[in-house]
């Protein structure tokens, strides 16, 4: 083959690799294709690509061609080292220069891997930051198989591999950032949000540990809100004054901060550290931006690498990636706050009217009680005391006082509906207990319980849910004074089972509780309004019952609605989200038992 012809052929092969580099989304498949072309270009009977595992500081074989590869050989990790006798691949990774030998048997660096190798060529894949990303290795079973031009061709191949590696990485990051956008915007609470951030960050960035700090409402301190490692125990406990320490500095200045040695930075305070500070090899903190100011800081740390040759610092790309996560998180936190504020505002709006109504009702009842007391006094002044009348008056006073208490309770329940104190509990148990406590045994209404036995435990406030279920039961009883039926049912459903107006973005499980009766039902035109405060046709209390139910359910990030056919009975639905974490904890517990 003439020189020019060979050159053209090499070019054709390289252009095929370029196409592959751009179109192949599976990295290992690309590497295999590139190796195949490489072997065609320079000849050889065996080849492999090893990539740097940055955490271990070792080379890991990703793609291997030719005879003799078995699982054990593929799994072998190659040490990165300049010393003789540690292997050519590791030597090339350490020196970052191509290496070629015509006879491995007389080569000082060669470490025997296969018996049949004679010539070997190794070319490093080095990125723009001067870091070794991997090594391409091609072997032949005849001596002096490779010349300088062959090495040059493989150097080109190595560059293409680097391009593919970068593309692959940015594709992963892009996907992760899109995913974080989606997940953050549908996160239901801060805890959820934090977990998502940690999960996504760990997919796109290499780090030992990641922590998120959030600025408090007075914008004085930064408090740890989540951490993927040892600091997890300290969530909610450790905090930085804004401006103090590296993390506090980032919050104050709204700029990223990167260092390889936090201890040597004059701003360093050592307030909270993911690991002993002398073990930290790289530190990066970026601000979490809200619309107007910094709302938090995300920081990641890497352990000091054991491989001294390996540069473990965070790169500009990595700052950009973490900053992108930071800004996504910032807007997610703000929209979450907004949602919560909206719920709060709705309830606050009810406050004014509630106070007026409470005053009116308390006033009325006090007035009635005073009237009764006057009558008692009058009776007592009579020469002959009418015991019957007196007993009746006292009964009336007692009823009056208990109605005052009802108002107070309702007031308290309404105010406290959204303040949860949660634990792991089973909705079926809560329903059974509530029924046992309040459902009249020999009443005119027949109770039918249909509880799904495999209901997972959820994180919830059992006392509040009891109040909520009690209200549903009492409500149903009060509308069926002549008798009827109440069917309480639980089941496990997917978010797809939700009515369209309650969209939850991504798929999650819900516990679906229904209370269906044979009372008069709820007319279509008031179905939406029955959950508003004071919208009640019941005499008892202040008419806050269903709005308390709504408050409690929404505080659990659930939904409540009524969709019974008017005239045939009411059918209330409560949907409580299954907290994924607690559900799996629960499954684990059951397995252990």
């Amino acid at each position: 083959m003439g020189k020019e012809q060979k050159y053209r052929q090499t070019l054709r092969q390289l252009s095929r690799v370029v196409k592959q580099a751009v179109s192949q989304t599976d990295l290992d498949q690309f590497l295999t294709a590139a190796l195949e072309e490489g072997m065609k270009m320079v000849g050889g009977f065996r080849a492999f690509v090893a990539l740097v595992d940055e955490d271990a500081g070792e080379l890991v074989i990703h793609s291997a061609l030719g005879p003799g590869w078995d699982e054990e050989k593929r799994q072998r990790r190659l040490q990165v080292a300049q010393e003789e006798g540690k292997g050519i691949t590791g030597y090339v990774a350490a020196t970052q220069r191509p290496y070629c030998t015509g006879d491995v048997n007389h080569d000082p660096h060669y470490l025997r891997f296969f018996e049949d190798v004679v010539s070997e060529m190794a070319v490093p894949i080095v990125d723009a930051y001067g870091r070794t990303r991997g090594v391409i290795n091609i072997e032949a079973n005849q001596p002096n198989a490779y010349n300088e031009e062959d090495v040059e061709a493989v150097v080109l191949l190595a560059d293409l591999c680097l391009t593919a590696l970068n593309l692959h990485q940015s594709r992963l990051r892009q996907e992760a950032l899109v995913q974080i956008g989606n997940e953050l915007s549908t996160s239901e609470d801060l805890e959820d949000l934090m977990q998502t951030v940690l999960d996504v960050a760990s997919k796109v960035l290499r780090f030992e540990d990641c922590s998120v700090f959030l600025v408090d409402e007075h914008r004085k301190r930064l408090t740890l809100a989540a951490s993927s490692g040892t600091l997890r125990e300290q969530v909610g406990k450790v905090s930085y004054p804004i401006g103090e320490g590296l993390t506090g500095w980032v919050a104050q200045h709204g700029e990223p901060l990167r260092t390889a040695n936090p201890r040597e930075d004059p701003r360093w305070r050592g307030i909270a550290s993911e690991m002993p500070v002398e073990q930290i090899g790289a530190f990066l903190a970026v601000p979490v931006w809200g619309r107007e100011h910094t709302v938090g800081v995300i920081r990641v740390v890497r352990r000091r690498s054991l491989a001294s040759w390996f540069d473990n610092r965070f790169t500009d790309d990595e700052i950009e990636v973490l900053s992108a996560i930071g800004s996504q998180l910032g807007s997610a936190i703000e929209s979450l706050n907004m949602r919560q504020r909206l719920i709060q505002t709705e309830r606050m709006a009810a406050w004014g009217e509630m106070s007026a109504r409470a005053a009116h009702m308390i006033g009325n009842r006090t007035f009635a009680i005073k009237g009764d007391l006057n009558e008692v006094e009058y009776l007592l002044q009579q020469p002959e005391i009418n015991r019957e009348e007196l007993t009746e008056l006292i009964g009336s006073i007692r009823r009056g006082v208990s109605r005052l208490e009802e108002i107070l309770h309702e007031f308290r329940d309404f105010v406290m509906a959204t303040h949860l104190s949660t634990g792991l509990d089973n909705v079926n148990n809560i329903i059974t207990q509530t029924v046992a406590e309040i459902f009249p045994r020999r009443g005119p209404v027949a109770l039918k319980l249909d509880l799904y036995p495999q209901l997972p435990d959820i994180r919830c406030d059992a006392v509040k849910l009891k109040r909520c279920f009690a209200e549903m039961i009492e409500n149903s009883l009060s509308f069926q004074p002549e008798g009827g039926e109440l069917r309480i049912r639980t089941e496990l459903v997917d978010s797809r089972a939700l009515p369209e107006r309650f969209s939850v973005g991504r798929s999650r499980q819900f516990i679906h509780i229904t209370f269906c009766d044979r009372g008069p039902g709820v007319p279509e035109d008031i179905k939406e309004r029955i959950f508003q405060p004071f919208f009640s046709s019941r005499v008892k209390g202040m008419g806050l019952g269903l709005s308390i139910v709504k408050g409690i359910v929404e505080a659990h990030r659930g939904f409540v609605y009524e969709d019974g056919k008017p005239g045939e009975g009411a059918c209330f639905h409560i949907l409580l989200p299954v907290n994924g974490k607690s559900a799996s904890e629960n499954a684990d517990n059951k397995e252990r038992q």
Partner: protein
């Protein structure tokens, strides 16, 4: 016997008022809200002498509508409006439109029932004198009319 109509949406309040006013010797009917009250006022013959109504029932200004119905039925019916916190503005509006007075249900240190009994007596007094004045006017008119006729 004077007839009084008590209108309030709280059963305890109706009951307490009815009891006390009966003790004072009045004939007391009760109505449990705006609609019921207006209906009873329209049906009454002769008209109630005094109507005691809560200000806020189905509507915050239920008292005003009761007042209108009572005066439409008998111009000389006396209406006393009761308020329980925060309806004073509406009660004042009632006064402007011809209510006899308004009484707050809860005045610390005051026996409001006693006060109400007093107001009822005053209202009845005004009604009596108004009716008397009317009768005298009618008498004079009648006399004048007949003397004119005689003069023809």
């Amino acid at each position: 016997m004077y007839r009084i109509l008590v209108i309030d949406d709280e059963e305890e309040v109706r009951h307490a008022l009815q009891r006390r006013l009966q003790r004072e010797g009045y004939q007391v009917d009760v109505a449990e809200g705006e609609a019921d009250g207006i209906e009873k006022i329209r049906q009454a013959s002769p008209a109630y002498d005094v109507v005691i109504t809560d200000m806020a029932m189905e509507n915050p200004d239920s008292g005003v509508r009761i007042l209108e119905a009572a005066l439409a039925h008998d111009l000389f019916s006396e209406v006393i409006v009761l308020t329980a916190y925060g309806n004073v503005a509406n009660a004042v509006e009632c006064m402007r439109r011809g209510a006899f007075d308004y009484v707050e249900k809860n005045i610390p240190g005051v026996d409001v029932y006693e006060l109400l009994v007093l107001k009822i007596e005053q209202a009845l007094e005004r009604r009596r004198s108004a009716v008397n004045t009317l009768r005298r006017m009618e008498e004079i008119t009648r006399r004048l009319t007949s003397s004119t006729r005689h003069g023809e």
